[in-house]
């Protein structure tokens, strides 16, 4: 796992990763267990920070994708061997097809599945959420804006560290140079939008 991949992972969670980097990163997630584990942790952290429901189903998404791909590979293998007799050259593309499927599956797991399914409205969800699924309310033209991570970072420990650095800085910096009499106005007043 490289440092740039960690940064790309943060950008992916924040929805700020470009399409070109996304493909290579998703491939790396599939091949690197440590990176996949970090990916899951970031998702959990993001969910907690956003006060979303955290369900066990969110864990092991990467493993689930890998297992599913492995199962599909066993089914596809005979087809490949049969077709190999007719069109031997196609076999050489099988690894690439698998990689493409892996990337697609991972992409669906990250983006499409949360979009199409409401994880918080399952049978064990609160009654209100079940009602919302059966009779979805019309989406209002504007909504309540909640606060997001203060420093626009996904890692709570890093957020706390930056807060500590800022407080220390404000405590030592000359008051007159920082907001007149209010050195902590930004610190207390700022609430990032999501």
């Amino acid at each position: 796992m490289r440092d740039d991949q960690t940064q790309q992972l943060s950008a992916l969670i924040d929805g700020e990763l470009g399409p070109r980097s996304m493909v290579s990163l998703l491939d790396a997630i599939e091949s690197d267990p440590d990176l996949a584990a970090r990916w899951e942790r970031y998702h959990l952290i993001s969910a907690v920070l956003h006060r979303e429901r955290v369900r066990d189903a969110y864990r092991g998404v990467a493993d689930a994708v890998s297992v599913r791909l492995a199962q599909e590979a066993t089914v596809l293998a005979p087809e490949a061997s049969r077709s190999q007799r007719r069109r031997p050259s196609m076999a050489r593309f099988a690894p690439f097809v698998g990689a493409g499927l892996a990337a697609s599956a991972a992409f669906l797991a990250v983006f499409a599945v949360p979009t199409f399914f409401d994880f918080g409205s399952g049978p064990e969800g609160p009654p209100g959420s079940r009602v919302a699924v059966s009779e979805p309310a019309p989406t209002p033209p504007f909504s309540l804006v909640q606060g997001g991570p203060r420093w626009h970072v996904s890692e709570p420990e890093l957020e706390t560290k930056l807060d500590r650095f800022l407080v220390t800085h404000q405590e030592y910096a000359p008051t007159a140079g920082i907001k007149g009499l209010l050195p902590y106005a930004t610190f207390v007043g700022y609430e990032a939008a999501r």
Partner: protein, 326 residues
Amino acid sequence: MKPLADPRSLVWILAACLMPWMATGLAAAPPNSAASQLQRMADAVNSLSFEGTLVYLHKNRLETLHIRHSIEDGQVRERLISMTGPVRAVTREDDEVTCVLPNSQTISVRRHGVTHDLLRSRALDPDLLGHHYQVHGLGAARVAGRETEVVGLVPRDDLRYGYRFYLDRETGLPLKTDLMGAEAEPIEQIMFTSLQLTHDDASGNPVTSRSTGPRHKPWSAIAAETHWRFAQMPDGFELLMHKAATQPANGPAEPEHFLLSDGLAAVSVYIEPDSGGGLLGETRIGAIHAAGGRIAGYHVTVVGEVPAATVAMFLASLEYIGEDVR
């Protein structure tokens, strides 16, 4: 006819009669320059106790804050609480500041290693500011039902923000502060909507330290304390303070800390052993920017209320010179 008094005595009597009037007149003279109004602002902050409600505006986000600020025995005591959104609070008593934030552990910072309130109560130095800011009187305005004089600090380059202070005509307190960006538009605004003075000036001893001597610390003074140097700092910034890394017995390790300032804007540079989890790249909170990266096996974080380019310049200019090079 006998003279009433010796002419020399009359001069002394006249002088004695006029002296109180002259002294009162000087003290009560309306500050007529923008620089003196800024000085009056610094004095007011360090001598007045007050309580009030403020609004904080950043982009399209509006927050309400409540402040209680008092001077007791030469110490600033302050409590700032957010009245909207998740509860966020800062309390400052003596040399310790404590912050309570949502989804975070309580942060407590004790200021030590620096002369008591030396930095906080420094007087503004118009000559020093003049190198990098233009100071303008911008006229009068009304804030929180009170009359104010408006003073603008316009930066001479893009490496620092500008300020627009609305100073209470009666007390000198800044009732509104606009942080100005490169486009000469406010990027953050703080304004009192109500203000109550809670003590007379004489009720508490003002913060006394008002040194206007050399502010910066020469690099030669810390040569034996650090393995780092800045190859080329942004123009006008000088070292104000340096603290070596420490490991308190009952607390987290404190990184090496450089504080640099141009007399108004300030930047902190923190250096700690790289154990992962530090900031890589740039981020911000409001108009405060931070940049981080790895240098020579250490992790460096730069934080300050300056534009993003300025923190990036500090990070890029930091060099490890090693033990042998000092």
